[in-house]
């Protein structure tokens, strides 16, 4: 357990070293937030002030919470594990006396904590000043929101790990990563709220783990979903953590069995 804590702490520190990168990320996240907010507010304006349960303030809240979660959830995916598998470096990771997925998860938590604080919160504050955001007065919503964010980070980590683990069988998994990212961005409710989808697309989205990564934490945090109604959504997140966790452990086992590293 100590080893995992140290890995998480080291990962937090590693990311906090690059201040310029953090400033750049905050700036870019903010600009994208304004672009996304413009599109959504224009749509709501045309619809007459309210669209499928979102008024202007709720839509702005939705955009800025999404921009805050983008970095810690790593909406654009990671490729590091896949590259290490391809180059054979993963053999070194497997030799370490800590579980591979465990060390990656610890690193992810450390990094996400930093990214949430340093890259997530500032754009949200800027958004709060410019477009305004509405956060719920109920402290229970904040608590459930924090739990939902933690679970969302875990679900996103596991799904991303599975895409990376596919590199055991695919020589080049960049195509897969691109497809995964595109589908994830849409179905997770990162680009637009999933309740805006037509029924068939909503049904598809609800059958996947993607809404658990973005839509659920945003709904819980913004209080758009009442605390009592957020509980089943958090239950769905827990189910996905179990399912994807089991699947990625099985994938890793099968992958390690088929892994062959040349040279030394």
């Amino acid at each position: 357990m100590l080893a995992y804590r140290r890995i998480a702490a080291a990962s937090f520190r590693q990311y906090s070293t690059y201040r310029m990168a953090t400033a750049a990320g905050v700036f870019t996240n903010t600009i994208f937030g304004f672009i996304r907010a413009s599109i959504m507010l224009a749509a709501i304006g045309t619809a007459g002030g309210e669209l499928n349960g979102y008024d202007a303030l709720q839509a702005a809240t939705y955009v800025w919470l999404g921009q805050a979660l983008l970095a810690p959830i790593e909406v654009f995916g990671t490729r590091e594990l896949a590259l290490r598998i391809r180059q054979g470096d993963v053999a070194i990771d497997l030799l370490r006396p800590v579980d591979l997925l465990g060390q990656l998860y610890a690193a992810k938590l450390g990094r996400s904590a930093y990214l949430l604080l340093a890259r997530g919160i500032p754009p949200m504050l800027i958004g709060a000043v410019v477009t305004g955001i509405a956060l719920p007065p109920d402290p229970l919503s904040h608590l459930l929101g924090a739990v939902a964010v933690m679970l969302a980070i875990t679900v996103a980590f596991l799904a991303d790990a599975m895409v990376n683990l596919a590199a055991f069988w695919l020589v080049e998994n960049r195509g897969l990563t691109t497809v995964y990212t595109a589908v994830m961005n849409l179905l997770s409710g990162f680009l637009i709220p999933i309740v805006w989808f037509p029924d068939w697309l909503l049904a598809i989205a609800r059958a996947t783990p993607f809404p658990s990564m973005v839509q659920t934490p945003i709904d819980a945090l913004s209080g758009r979903v009442a605390p009592l109604d957020a509980l089943p959504l958090i239950g769905v997140q827990v189910v996905w953590v179990v399912v994807l966790g089991g699947a990625s452990v099985l994938m890793l086992r099968a992958g390690v069995r088929s892994l062959e590293v040349q040279g030394g």
Binding site: M20, S38, I39, A43, A47, L51, G175, V183
Partner: protein, 283 residues
């Protein structure tokens, strides 16, 4: 002169300077051949890129399915803007997208290797990691642009037809200049490369959206500072004969070429200054 040199094949080739055209042909040819040899990976990359453009459009489609018009445009009209923007960005990204990785070259010292070669730096970086998978975005963008123009009621005349062809090229030039400026900025901001993403990828996002959705300050910024609305939205107003919003009257649809020239002039200055600032890290 050409005749005499051809009749003497024994003349050592090193004495003849290689023309830029031939350099371009050799460099790009080698990249294309090497990438086409990994067929399965190339096809999956290509499909991935194509799918991404389609999925991104779904965002606008879902909104339009709910409200009917966005920024005063119907679905086919928005599809023209989106297709044109994607096509323009796709061409620029294919040719200059790799410039975004310049900071990696600077950090690893690879840039010094490039500097001592007698080939223009921009041409080297452009051809070094030319990613043919980006053709996927170009193909989908082109398809959407042409089909959507047909559905949205485009009436071809000599002038509108000319604009329909010029617009994606001018747009590609604007994005190319933006990508070059983003690359040049990395000479100063090595770890800050993400700053520029706000203008390159952010510019692409704005360009493929009806410009009327943006509030005036943003519309002004993405027209006069980063000319993103001039890439696709403004030309579409002319092509489909639609009235423009404030700051973007219909005639701005013709401003793509001047904007491209202006941004390239700035990009060239910035790039030169960047190269001059660069001091090797040794190695």
């Amino acid at each position: 002169m050409a005749e005499t040199s051809r009749s003497r094949p024994s003349e050592p080739r090193a004495h003849r300077p290689v023309s830029t055209a031939r350099m371009v042909r050799t460099l790009y040819g080698s990249r294309i051949r090497s990438q086409a040899s990994y067929r399965a990976s190339f096809v999956s990359d290509l499909l991935g890129q194509a799918l991404m453009v389609g999925v991104e459009f779904l965002e606008l489609w879902v909104i339009l399915a709910n409200v009917g018009t966005l920024g005063g445009m119907t679905l086919p009209q928005v599809a023209v803007v989106y297709g044109l923007g994607s096509l323009a960005f796709g061409i620029a990204d294919l040719l200059l997208g790799e410039i975004d990785g310049l900071s990696t070259y600077i950090k690893s010292g690879k840039l010094e290797t490039l500097m001592i070669r007698p080939v223009p730096m921009l041409l080297q970086i452009s051809s070094l990691d030319l990613s043919l998978r980006r053709i996927g975005r170009i193909l989908v963008g082109l398809g959407m642009y042409v089909v959507a123009l047909g559905i949205a009621g485009f009436t071809p005349t000599a002038t509108t037809l000319a604009l329909a062809v010029i617009a994606p090229l001018a747009g590609a030039a604007i994005f190319g200049a933006l990508l070059t400026m983003a690359g040049a900025m990395q000479f100063w901001l090595i770890d800050g490369r993400e700053f520029a993403n706000a203008f390159t990828y952010g510019g692409n996002y704005v360009a493929s959206t009806p410009g009327a959705v943006f509030a005036l300050p943003m519309r002004a910024f993405f027209t006069f500072v980063i000319p993103a609305t001039l890439v696709a939205y403004a030309p579409t107003l002319v092509l489909l004969d639609l009235p423009g919003p404030m700051l973007l009257p219909q005639w701005t649809g013709w401003m793509g070429v001047p904007a491209a020239i202006l941004t390239w002039a700035l990009a060239a200055l910035l790039w030169r200054a960047g190269i001059r600032t660069y001091t090797g890290a040794g190695g």
